[in-house]
């Protein structure tokens, strides 16, 4: 039960083979084994959303998933989405709107916002607020984040704000 287990997965498109303890959660695996510290740990019990990553296309709480559960899975983190350019426009909108202060929630917030925009090209403010409700931000008061996501959705639809 406590011996390391072999796992193979892709992280941001890169093949990873590792030996992990069964109790190791995905957030700690990404941060401590792979050095991907953009996935943040805020509460370690699935409430705050700072550790949000994408596993096989769905956003999950990396603190609630064990690394061994990602065997054969495709994991994407904020570093991957940044390097691929997938969220470049969303990041630019966050910058223009000052939708981050300390930045600790921001990687998870961007993952959640991108998830919404992939599902719904034209969310209204209430829908944006609802979708981001699992991601705590203690700095901004959320208003600027909602603005940035709304502006990105408009731009992706080719509309003017």
């Amino acid at each position: 039960m406590t011996a390391p287990v072999a796992v193979s997965l892709t992280v941001n498109g890169e093949r990873i083979d590792a030996q992990v303890l069964p109790r190791l959660n995905l957030a700690d695996f990404l941060r401590e084994h792979l050095g991907l510290t953009g996935t943040h740990v805020g509460c370690e019990h699935g409430v705050c959303g700072a550790c949000t990553v994408r596993v096989d296309g769905d956003i999950v709480r990396a603190c609630l998933l064990l690394a061994v559960q990602t065997h054969n899975a495709s994991v994407e983190t904020i570093e991957g989405l940044s390097d691929s350019g997938e969220v470049a426009d969303l990041q630019a909108a966050f910058c223009n709107r000052n939708a981050l202060q300390c930045g600790y929630c921001t990687p998870g917030m961007l993952m959640a916002a991108q998830d919404l925009l992939r599902q719904n090209a034209a969310p209204d403010r209430a829908q944006i607020r609802e979708h981001l409700s699992g991601n705590y931000c203690r700095c901004t008061g959320y208003h600027a984040i909602i603005d940035a996501v709304e502006a990105t959705a408009l731009a992706r639809r080719g509309e003017q704000p």
């Binding site: 805020g42 705050c48 981001l132 203690r138 959320y142």
Partner: protein
């Protein structure tokens, strides 16, 4: 001769061509944070680094009879298990008092408890291992024998004779008391048409920084030097305190502060577990890292508020407020926090109640008592949310007693905008405030009359909405009056060094710190504007005691007002030096030259004369071509501290529009407005977002946030699922307006903006709830305003 004389074509240094002042420009370095490439302390690793986990007391008050660490020491990966007694050989205890808070007392506190624990969560042993997980495994093998003592948990009975005294050497559980009697309150109340009173209850809550407290201490025995990587708002304070208690010279300690995952006052203190981590590194001669987990955050990060206050207001039928009286009580835990003390919040309540109003009659008492709960201390807004709520709810109750509109009673009693400078009954000196202009601005952006009409219409349909108004003052830009005069080595001045490098770019080193407020941005905006250099060419270094001037840091809404002015003055000095060099190169007079868009130009006509990078090249690589005896100085340092006023007061007014469901007690926030006067605005977007973030923290306190202790001193909701914070779904959009009354204390004219949102949010929400409940004759004067509280007020439960 006009050599060296600043000529600005009639404009101030802030109002030059291409000035960044007053403009929304994006903060530098956001890409790093957005790409997950920031560097928070929790991300850091060092060679030979080990992790410390603290075994914490399950009891609120108990004697430690025995600590058995034999089994823990045998666990895999364990480097050391250290008790308080062992660590006391490395680090000395402290007492959190300040001399200007007369009579404030506290007991010696150790980095790790010795003999006795005084709150649930106090550390009793440190377990150091090669990973955090292994240290936690070993912690489970620790065995501690306790003898439980009676916990003091109810602040209302803390001073009763039959209540045990937590620290017998202190004689009683009273940490601090302050009394103030200004004017003639008894006569004023006796002569008033109405005297209204209420008891206010403010729940304990805490900051919930999304990154928990984190510290990595690295004692290098070869250098005899300690490097502390810590998410702190005040690096020089950490340097001073750690050196003092480890028996080191300050020069032997370097404090480095990289990215910080939220602070809000939580990270402006020095905690016992942080002291223990510094000491463990020295003891073990290797890097030791401590990152609090969320349970530890809730049980050891400072809590705040936890006040019970009786308030009275006198009012005449014409709307004249005749006086305020308060009797305040607060429980601060078993120790006064170090080094800022736990009496400041209560002191601020006394200072600030009634602050916006003209009445000279004011009596106040506050008592600060010990209890066996986690310590309380300064959290965003320090005292303001309490003082503002007491004042503004009393004003509304007075208005209701005489049948006057809440806006009208404020109109009749707020200090007139042309009455400054003046002082409050508690002695606060106000330089230039704008309460009336702020209300004018508020009414225009919220369309008050239309909302009142809508409210009346909806009431007919059984929909209960309320409007709440709260005027406020906010202490900002504190001079030495806060801490320095009380003997704390917490700097009230800040410094900035500005240097033109060899490529014509600018490097600024500032003693203020960044936790997302925009300290880097405002520094670069000011320096770029004054120098005539593009912001993209200005790099700001902060958060490193080895590499910045000495200063206070970022807290108490002081970064822009104090650090910003130091930036302005240092940039002016460098600008003069650059023009001296340019004049020498160009055989011109400095006063005939200007710097615009990275080039020295003719002041008249704007003809480009020499680019900055060319000037720098000559200075650094061909100084032989400069006139004999001329020494260029392309680096300048200036410091600033306000001297005339102990504090610069920001002021303003907030309004809330909300709906209360009388069946469920649920409150739905619909809209929130803030008008703020923080003087000169350096970056409007940053100011607005500070306000919005502050408002939402205040709304959290008003509606959700509560550290709930049981009668045994057990914190019952120390996790994020049970301790509720505002989420995006419940929060309203927040509209913001400004009035601008610059402070004359500085050339910049900026006052603080970081805490006003928190100061007034709960007050206007409480007033809005009471307005919504008016048809039921119900009032609430307690926060958080839970559904249970609302239903109780309605008599439903």
């Amino acid at each position: 001769m006009n050599d060296g004389v600043e000529q600005t074509r009639g404009l101030s240094v802030l109002d030059r061509p291409n000035s960044y002042i007053g403009k929304t420009v994006p903060r530098p370095n956001l890409d790093r944070l957005m790409q997950g490439r920031g560097l928070y302390v929790s991300d850091m690793t060092l060679p030979r680094m080990v992790h410390v986990v603290f075994l914490r007391s399950p009891h609120a008050h108990a004697k430690i009879l025995n600590i058995d660490s034999v089994a823990a020491k045998a666990m895999p990966g364990v480097i050391a298990v250290v008790t308080g007694r062992e660590l006391a050989d490395v680090i000395t205890p402290w007492i959190g008092v300040l001399t200007h808070l007369k009579g404030l007392k506290s007991a010696p506190q150790h980095a790790i408890a010795i003999d006795r624990v005084c709150w649930q969560g106090e550390a009793v042993a440190a377990i150091v291992a090669t990973s955090r997980a292994l240290a936690e495994d070993a912690a489970e093998q620790m065995s501690v024998d306790y003898e439980e003592l009676t916990p003091v948990t109810n602040m209302r009975t803390a001073l009763d004779a039959e209540t045990p005294v937590i620290h017998p050497d202190l004689g009683d559980n009273l940490a601090f008391e302050r009394n103030l009697d200004a004017g003639a309150i008894d006569k004023a109340f006796a002569d008033s048409d109405e005297v209204v009173e209420a008891e206010f209850v403010f729940g304990r809550h805490t900051g919930v920084t999304l990154e928990p407290r984190a510290v990595l201490a690295d004692w290098n025995a070869g250098e005899a030097r300690l490097t502390i990587y810590q998410g702190t708002q005040a690096p020089h304070m950490v340097q001073n305190i750690s050196a003092k208690h480890l028996g080191l010279e300050e020069a032997q300690v370097r404090v480095v502060c990289k990215d910080v995952g939220g602070s809000f006052g939580i990270k402006v203190h020095i905690y016992a577990d942080e002291m223990a981590t510094y000491a463990l590194s020295k003891l073990l001669r290797r890097p030791v890292k401590f990152v609090a987990d969320r349970v530890e955050s809730f049980s050891t990060d400072i809590h705040a508020r936890d006040h019970v206050c009786k308030g009275r207001i006198g009012v005449n039928k014409d709307g004249t407020i005749t006086g305020f009286e308060i009797d305040d009580l607060t429980g601060i835990g078993p120790y006064s926090m170090y080094p800022r003390t736990s009496a400041i919040e209560a002191n601020q309540v006394v200072n600030l109640v009634g602050g916006p109003y003209t009445t000279p009659n004011y009596r106040a008492r506050t008592r600060v008592v010990f209890q066996n709960k986690n310590v309380t201390c300064q959290y965003r807004g320090v005292g303001h949310p309490i003082a503002c709520s007491i004042t503004e709810v009393l004003v509304d109750l007075a208005a209701r007693a005489i049948g006057m509109d809440p806006i009208e009673i404020r109109r009749r009693n707020l200090v007139a905008d042309d009455a400054y400078p003046c002082a409050s009954p508690s002695g606060m000196k106000f330089e230039a405030l704008s309460h009336h202009a702020s209300i004018d601005r508020l009414l225009s952006i919220m369309d008050y009359d239309a909302l009142r009409a809508e409210q009346a219409e909806l009431r007919k349909q059984g929909i209960y909405r309320g409007i709440g108004i709260a005027s406020f003052v906010e202490v900002t830009n504190p001079a030495a009056a806060f801490y320095g005069v009380g003997g704390a080595r917490i700097s009230s001045q800040d410094g900035v060094t500005v240097r033109l490098d060899a490529t014509g770019s600018v490097v600024c080193q500032t003693s203020i710190t960044e936790q997302g407020q925009g300290s880097e941005s405002l520094t670069a905006q000011i320096v770029g504007s004054v120098l005539g250099v593009s912001m993209s060419r200005v790099r700001v270094i902060l958060g490193d005691t080895d590499n910045t001037p000495y200063g206070g840091g970022t807290w108490a809404s002081r970064g822009a007002g104090i650090g910003g002015e130091a930036a302005l003055q240092s940039a002016k000095a460098l600008r003069k030096n650059i023009l001296d060099v340019a004049a020498a190169i160009l055989q011109a007079k400095p006063g005939d030259l200007d710097i615009v868009e990275n080039s020295v130009v003719d002041l008249v006509g704007g003809q480009q004369r020499i680019e900055m990078h060319e000037l720098a090249r000559i200075v650094y690589f061909r100084p032989d071509t400069l006139p004999p005896g001329f020494q260029a100085e392309l680096m300048a340092t200036r410091h600033f501290v306000p001297r005339e006023y102990p504090f610069a007061f920001t002021n303003g007014v907030q309004a809330s529009w909300l709906e209360v469901d009388p069946n469920t007690g649920f409150i739905t926030l619909l809209k929130h407005w803030v008008v703020e006067d923080c003087g000169t605005i350096i970056n409007p977007q940053l100011v607005d977002e500070q306000i919005r973030g502050g408002v939402v923290q205040g709304l959290g306190a008003a509606l959700y946030e509560h550290c709930i202790y049981d009668e045994r001193g057990q914190l019952t909701n120390a996790n994020m699922a049970d301790y509720l914070v505002p989420m995006s779904g419940e929060m309203p959009d927040i509209s913001i307006g400004h009035v601008v009354s610059p402070t004359m204390e500085s050339e910049l004219g900026a006052k603080g903006a970081g805490e006003a949102g928190t100061a007034g949010a709960a007050a206007c929400v409480a007033n809005a709830v009471n307005d919504a409940l008016a048809p039921f004759g119900a009032t609430v004067t307690e926060i958080p305003l839970t559904p249970r509280l609302i239903l109780t007020a309605l008599g439903t439960i």
